[in-house]
């Protein structure tokens, strides 16, 4: 009887302890906030151009985007490709202006005289 009373008292003590700890969390007010993000535009897919069956006999432009001090890499690229694929015409060209600038004249030339383009390289 005495043992049973002790267990009862321990149980009451434990329950009381839990009630002291958890109610503060259960009662904390919840709020809503407005989402700060803006609207991203719809993305229209851009079709990729059909690939070439072979590069043999074709003209491939290697275009330097003009990031400072990166010319050497494109020069070496042209040499390396010309050594390995001598049946391809590798044309190295600088894009107009800085790497931010567009160059519609060059794209028109590539469309007219080229079959493919490699472009590089930043940093």
């Amino acid at each position: 009887m005495k043992k049973g009373m002790n267990y009862l008292l321990i149980g009451v003590f434990l329950v009381a302890s839990l009630l002291v700890v958890y109610p503060s969390q259960a009662e904390e007010a919840k709020i809503t906030a407005l989402n700060p993000l803006g609207s991203a535009p719809l993305i229209r897919r851009v079709s990729m151009a059909p690939r070439l069956d072979t590069l043999a006999g074709k003209t491939v432009y290697i275009v330097n985007v003009m990031f400072p001090l990166t010319d050497q890499f494109l020069v070496e690229m042209q040499k390396a490709f010309a050594e390995r694929y001598p049946q391809v015409n590798w044309v190295l060209r600088d894009k107009r202006g800085t790497y931010f600038d567009d160059d519609p004249k060059l794209w028109a030339e590539i469309k007219e005289k080229g079959n493919a383009m490699i472009m590089g390289i930043g940093h």
Partner: protein
């Protein structure tokens, strides 16, 4: 992508640290499966032998041989996925966040990268409604679009969205027209570049005093509520409404820039301008009684005490040559001159001295004097322009004659030569000491605050 649209297959080659950036950008521009080849980073300045090694080696991302990968990019047939057309839909963000406890919402905003890393004022509907009282514009009015830099997509935002971010910054409703004016320019404060750009925002006109901005002692420092929160709001707007500020993708500054927290937001001390020196907004064509924000772009600031050497304008000449990022040292290509940038923030004591002791009757006179009289040393000139050095060695004038100048001489080509990029001058400070700050900042634009009241 422009060339792909012309029916020409392409193979872009990128250095490996930009994998996230280029793939994210390709997705946003509508070619999520663009065929990139990566090489080790960096490439700039590498000798021919090392470039060769990279070309003959493997792509550090895919492990494939670089040259083979480039050839395959041009010749391997398109997959069905690559042939897809139409649109890629991105669900609009939900209007509301929560409900949750304030602490949990703070954690969520931080986790979602909607903040600048600091705690924010949670933008409840009540707080945003209060902020919207600061303007007569309707909440759903489109303010502008903004992008992190030209190649990136532009995001559109409304007055309400600006208000949400203004609340987050801790701003008061009376500051809101200033914040809207900044947002209306569509200019990001978080320009994406590996060079760690900074921005500056200057406020002119009656609104400065109406909202108790600081243009006096400590104006560029903390402790003024309007200066601090207006500047901060621009950063949050640029991040959440302009698509910027994501490290590795749209925040690429190699070291970052501490100015990005507050964007050097201050008010010009118009009351202490020497007679004849106009406030910045009047120089830009606004009336003195108009309230205006003006924005600048640059990288860094040097602080200078006006003790010795003297006079100040001579010191400014030398100081301006320290900014090698802004055109004093950075020349992309021979024949494409790159005029440097300089902005001066003068304590009124310095401005007074320059007017009374040195005779500069207007800001423009000082600006023009500096532009006309600042030259680089021969070492700096030739170090920045190797193509011009070669021309000099080949006997091309005037380079050949410049190469014969004695050691220590200055090359007689002005550092600041573009009349469209004058040296900008503003006055602020509390006159406790004749200090000024020089920065490699360019003026970018101004906007009316009154329009947004």
């Amino acid at each position: 992508m422009t060339v792909e649209k012309l029916g020409i297959p392409t193979a872009p080659v990128i250095t490996s640290v930009f994998e996230d950036l280029v793939k994210t950008n390709a997705y946003k521009k509508g070619m999520p499966l663009q065929r990139f080849t990566f090489v080790p980073h960096p490439i700039a300045g590498k000798p021919a032998s090392e470039c060769r090694e990279y070309l003959k080696g493997n792509d550090p991302i895919t492990g494939k041989p670089v040259m083979q990968e480039i050839i395959e990019a041009l010749t391997k047939p398109l997959t069905e996925e690559e042939k897809k057309t139409g649109f890629i839909e991105r669900p609009a963000p939900p209007r509301l966040v929560g409900p949750d406890t304030p602490d949990n919402l703070q954690r969520l905003f931080l986790k979602n990268a909607w903040t600048d890393g600091l705690p924010i004022v949670l933008p409840t509907e009540e707080k945003v409604a209060e902020m919207l009282k600061g303007t007569s514009q309707k909440p759903n009015k489109v303010v502008a679009t903004m992008r992190p830099s030209p190649p990136h997509e532009a995001w559109e935002y409304t007055v309400e969205k600006v208000a949400i971010n203004a609340v987050m910054a801790g701003a008061k409703p009376e500051y809101f027209p200033v914040i809207l004016a900044i947002a209306s320019t569509g200019i990001t404060s978080l320009f994406t570049s590996t060079t760690s750009f900074a921005r500056m925002v200057v406020v002119n006109g009656p609104v400065r005093n109406e909202i108790n901005m600081n243009s006096g002692i400590g104006a560029l420092g903390p402790f003024n509520h309007a200066n601090a929160t207006i500047g901060r709001a621009w950063t949050l707007i640029s991040r959440n409404l302009g698509g910027g500020g994501t490290p590795g993708s749209t925040y690429l500054g190699s070291q970052g820039n501490n100015f990005n927290y507050n964007n050097l937001c201050f008010a010009e001390k118009e009351e202490e301008l020497p007679k004849g020196w106009k406030p910045l907004h009047v120089q830009k064509g606004f009336k003195p009684e108009e309230s205006v924000v003006s924005l600048f772009s640059g990288w860094s600031i040097i602080d200078n005490g006006g003790f010795k050497p003297y006079p100040y304008n001579e010191v400014m000449k030398h100081q301006s040559l320290a900014f090698y990022t802004s055109g004093t040292g950075n020349c992309f290509k021979s024949g494409v001159p790159d005029s440097a940038a300089l902005t001066l923030l003068l304590d009124p004591l310095v401005a007074k001295d320059l007017k009374e002791a040195r005779g500069f009757k207007t800001k423009e006179e000082l600006s023009q004097w500096l532009m006309k009289n600042t030259f680089k040393s021969a070492w700096a000139y030739w170090a920045c322009r190797p193509d011009d050095l070669q021309k000099a060695k080949d006997g091309v004038e005037p380079y050949a004659s410049w190469l014969k100048l004695p050691e220590g001489a200055l090359v007689p080509e002005p550092v600041f030569f573009d009349p469209k990029k004058p040296i900008e001058i503003m006055v602020l400070g509390g006159q406790t000491n004749p200090f000024w700050q020089a920065g490699d900042f360019n003026y970018v634009g101004s906007a009316s605050v009154d329009k947004w009241k």
